[in-house]
Structures are given as structure tokens and as C-alpha cells.
């Protein structure tokens, strides 16, 4: 890790990612508890999918402290979290780990960083589009688009028997249904996107002082 060689200072790129992450932490109630981590590993031990992660949840916080957010953002970990919240409710210092992983996901998407060959990103995008267009999640369209974009068409074929079964049971909608207040919803989304755009530089002092990085370059 070249950028870890100078204790106390971070390269511009890492500073930028760190600031982006901390501004996301800021919008999680109690997000600042991140600094209370005692590295006990209860999160990792409680996580049903930590065995499939390249960085364990405990290591994610250790990497953050070490000033290496880029590695976290490139990991499969943030995308493999299934949102079961087992870590969050067991953490002895009440760090909202699941929400912090969401914060990291948002940074990764915002900075266009994605792990290789891992398709959650594509599913998220398709989902967002579906809600924008119809107001509801059009499951059939979502899954079709997902399989076509992120995997190969043969995978879509593999899903065909299940799709037919669902169709027979009357549990698959072939066509999307658009909500009546769709125009209103669009207005709300447009306004929210406008509001979301300018994100103030965050007050990073609280977190950085205790972890030893006072020298985030601005």
C-alpha cells in the first residue's frame, strides 16, 4: 500500500474518498460511533456471509482507520452484505455496520468503483430505473434486464423453467403496471435529485482526531 508509507498524511485520492465516505457517514444517525470500534470481531463472527467476503466487516473498519478506503471500495464485501443486520444488533459499541456498508456502497457508486465480475451494481441500476418508470418494482422486467446485462443469455435460459412455473401459478406479471400518480412521483424524484446534488464538505474532525489522521489534504 504505497499510500500508507507516510504516517499521518494521506494522498489526494485517498483524502477525496475519505471525505466522500465521511459525508455519507454523516447522514447515518449515530454514524460517528464508527470511532468507538474495539476490533472485537463480533460483527465478523455474526455475519452469515463473512466466509464469502474478501475483507471481513472488522477488517473494513481496520482499513478505514489505516487510511485505505480504496481497498474497501474495490472489495466484494460491501456488495455481498445481504442486509440482515446481525452485526448491527450485536456490536458492543453500537456501530451501525450495515448502514456504514450502505454508505460505502454509495461512495463506490458515486466514484464509479466496482469490483470485477460482481453484478449487484447492475441490479441496483435496473431497480432504480424500474421505480422511476413505473413507480413500482416490475420484477419480471428487472430480472430479465439484470440477467441480460450482467450475466450471459444462457443464464436467462436457465431461469426459464422457474419463470414458467411462476407464470403458471399466476405469480409473474408479464407487463408492468404504472401507478396513477406517476407524474407526481417523477416530480418528487426530480426535486430530490436536485437537492442531493451539492453535498457540503463534511466536518471530519470528530472522526479523524481519534483515529490519528489529522492531515487530510484539502
Amino acid at each position: 500500500m504505497a499510500h500508507l508509507e507516510t504516517p499521518g498524511t494521506l494522498p489526494a485520492r485517498e483524502s477525496e474518498l475519505r471525505r466522500a465516505f465521511l459525508s455519507q457517514v454523516d447522514i447515518v444517525p449515530g454514524g460517528e460511533r464508527l470511532r468507538k470500534c474495539i476490533q472485537c470481531g463480533t460483527c465478523t463472527g455474526s455475519c452469515p456471509v463473512s466466509y464469502a467476503m474478501d475483507l471481513s466487516p472488522r477488517e473494513v473498519i481496520a482499513r478505514f482507520r489505516a487510511g485505505d478506503i480504496e481497498t474497501i471500495l474495490r472489495s466484494r464485501t460491501i456488495w455481498i452484505c445481504a442486509s440482515c443486520y446481525a452485526c448491527t444488533v450485536r456490536c458492543p459499541v453500537e456501530i451501525r455496520i450495515t448502514d456504514l456498508l450502505y454508505a460505502l456502497k454509495r461512495v463506490a457508486m458515486g466514484k464509479n468503483i466496482r469490483p470485477r465480475q460482481f453484478p449487484v451494481y447492475a441490479l441496483s441500476e435496473a431497480f432504480v430505473r424500474s421505480v422511476k418508470w413505473f413507480g413500482r418494482n416490475y420484477e419480471m422486467g428487472l430480472l430479465t434486464e439484470f440477467f441480460l446485462r450482467s450475466l450471459k443469455w444462457v443464464n436467462l435460459l436457465k431461469m426459464a423453467p422457474l419463470g414458467l412455473k411462476m407464470l403458471k401459478a399466476g405469480r409473474l406479471g408479464l407487463f408492468p403496471e404504472r401507478i396513477a400518480g406517476h407524474a407526481d412521483l417523477k416530480k418528487i424524484i426530480a426535486r430530490a435529485e436536485e437537492i442531493e446534488q451539492p453535498r457540503e464538505p463534511v466536518p471530519v474532525r470528530a472522526v479523524t482526531d481519534e483515529v490519528g489522521y489529522k492531515a487530510i489534504q484539502s
Binding site: Q24, I27, P29, P48, V49, A52, W79, I80, A82, S83, C84, Y85, A86, T88, V89, R96, T98, Y102, K105, R106, M109, F118, P119, V120, L123, S124, F127, V128, V131, G135, R136, N137, E139, M140, L143, F146, L162, K165, M166, A169, G170, R171, L172, G173, E177, I179, A180, G181, D184, L185, K187, I188, I189, A190, R191, A192, E193, I195, E196
Partner: protein
């Protein structure tokens, strides 16, 4: 008692039986469900992870519409229940976010004051009618049926809600009162993998294997769930699971409202048990006979 009903996207199609059985059970128990008019997607966990203000605004549109109805909201889908509650909590604790979201809502002439209670049907039955109140209306006994109650993640976590986060008991007590026998099922709040079934299939398959193998090993006739995605993951891939792990991992996975509906005297079609992907054995179907 009257409630505003928020079915959520899954219940309109892929989890249709959960929708049918929830409505039927409430009707049978004399509780009124009024579907929220023109509701939209709750925001869901995926959406949460992308754009925060946008996802909270989408979510809050439902709450703003529901607030006008002045009734508690009933949300059967675990993800909807979590997301709508999370939106409520974040808007309460973060004044900045509240201002942004209400600004966005005002584009459609809406305002959300933060007064809506979002509740899960299981909790409504337990607290508003009580286990004895529900059991008093039962017309059939579930005696002889062994079940593994599976709560999943999102109705018990991340906040302390109506039941314990590690060892919930509400559903166990309910079905016990209806005559069923509960098997030892220590994985009752373990994750099924959620949407990893689509994005990281191997991981979710292992989690589903563990859940079914545990319930089977402890002698359960069926697993009873409270969540659309748990039911889907456990029920839809039983052929693939069995082939992958070299074990017979077929077993019925019911929504709790379906089994409750049978106990209340409803028939198989009314609760949607005819629209399952996995085989429902005679032992369960004959309850409705």
C-alpha cells in the same frame, strides 16, 4: 379495528399468496384492511444503497399519503416494513434530511408530519387481538403438525421492535396456541441470502441449504415465514438445492398467514396455497378438508 394496507410490490405478483392470505385472515378476524391508494415502491434495500435523499423521498410519499388516512399502516413484506420504519426513524432523528425530503414531497403538493405507525401483520394480530383472541376464532386445530417458525432478518432487526432480535417467540406462541408443535429451530433469525440468490448465487444457496436442512433434521413438516423473499428463496430453488448438495431438500414453505388462514377455516384457494412452486403435501392440504 381498521388499518391502511401497504402490500408492496412483491405481494402484487411473485408473492400473491401472501397478499391473498393476509387479506383473508384479517377479514376472518374482523379486522379491516384498506389498501393505500396509489402507493409506490417502498424504496427497498437496493434503492437505499444508491441515492439516499431520493430513496427516502420515494418512501416518504407513501407515508405522506397514509398520514391523510389517519390509521396505522400494515406492511406484510419484511423489506417494506423495515424501509418504511427506517424512513420514519431517519426523518425523526435527522432534521436536515426531513427538510430535504419534505422539500421534495412539496413538488407534488405533499407533506409528511411523521405521525404514521408502520406495523407488521404478525405484530398487529399479537398485540391488537392477542394470541387468545386469535385462537378463539380458530375453527380447525393444527394438532399433529410440526413447524419451524422462521422470522428472517428484517422484522426483528435492526431496531428492537415487537419481538426479540435473537430469539423471537411471537409466531411460536401463536401456532402453539393453534395446536401445532414447534420443533427446535435455532436458525429462526438467520439470513436466507435475500437478493444474493440473484447476485451471488453460491452464497445464498448455502444459506438456504442450512435453513432447510436444519428444519428437516429437527423433524419439521414445514417452515413458516413472514417474508416474501425468504419464502421465494427457500421454495423456488429446491430442485437445484437438492442437486447441488446431494440431499433431498424439498419441503413446504408457507407464509404464516396461509397456515393461520387454514386454522381459521379458510380453504386452500382462498389463502393461495394452490399457487405454490413447491409441492404442498396432503398432511397440510387436508387441514382444509
Amino acid at each position: 379495528m381498521e388499518y391502511t394496507y401497504y402490500p408492496g410490490c412483491s405481494l402484487t405478483k411473485t408473492s400473491k399468496p401472501y397478499d391473498l392470505s393476509t387479506r383473508a385472515v384479517f377479514r376472518a378476524l374482523g379486522l379491516g384492511l384498506h389498501e393505500l391508494e396509489d402507493w409506490n415502491c417502498c424504496g427497498a434495500t437496493v434503492y437505499m444503497s444508491v441515492k439516499e435523499t431520493v430513496s427516502f423521498s420515494i418512501s416518504a410519499r407513501n407515508l405522506a399519503l397514509a398520514e391523510k388516512m389517519k390509521r396505522d399502516v400494515v406492511a406484510p413484506c419484511s423489506a417494506c416494513y423495515l424501509v418504511l420504519n427506517k424512513t420514519n426513524r431517519f426523518l425523526r432523528e435527522l432534521p436536515d434530511l426531513n427538510a430535504k425530503v419534505n422539500d421534495a414531497l412539496s413538488a407534488a403538493g405533499l407533506y409528511y408530519g411523521g405521525t404514521v405507525r408502520v406495523r407488521h401483520p404478525l405484530e398487529v394480530l399479537i398485540n391488537d387481538l392477542g394470541i387468545e383472541g386469535v385462537a378463539a376464532k380458530a375453527r380447525r386445530s393444527l394438532k399433529g403438525l410440526k413447524i419451524a417458525e422462521y422470522y428472517g432478518c428484517q422484522i426483528v432487526r435492526p431496531q428492537r421492535g415487537f419481538d426479540d432480535m435473537e430469539f423471537p417467540q411471537t409466531m411460536d406462541r401463536l401456532f402453539e396456541a393453534l395446536g401445532a408443535e414447534n420443533v427446535y429451530f435455532p436458525l429462526k433469525v438467520r439470513c436466507c441470502g435475500g437478493m444474493l440468490m440473484t447476485t451471488a448465487n453460491d452464497v445464498a444457496m448455502k444459506l438456504c441449504h442450512d435453513l432447510i436442512a436444519c428444519a428437516q433434521g429437527n423433524g419439521a413438516d414445514c417452515i413458516v415465514t413472514t417474508c416474501p423473499l425468504c419464502q421465494m428463496n427457500l421454495a423456488a430453488y429446491q430442485d437445484q438445492l437438492s442437486a447441488k448438495f446431494g440431499e433431498d431438500l424439498h419441503m413446504p414453505i408457507l407464509w404464516f398467514t396461509e397456515l393461520l388462514g387454514l386454522a381459521l377455516g379458510l380453504d386452500v384457494r382462498t389463502v393461495g396455497l394452490n399457487a405454490h412452486l413447491e409441492r404442498i403435501p396432503e398432511k397440510i392440504l387436508s387441514l382444509a378438508a
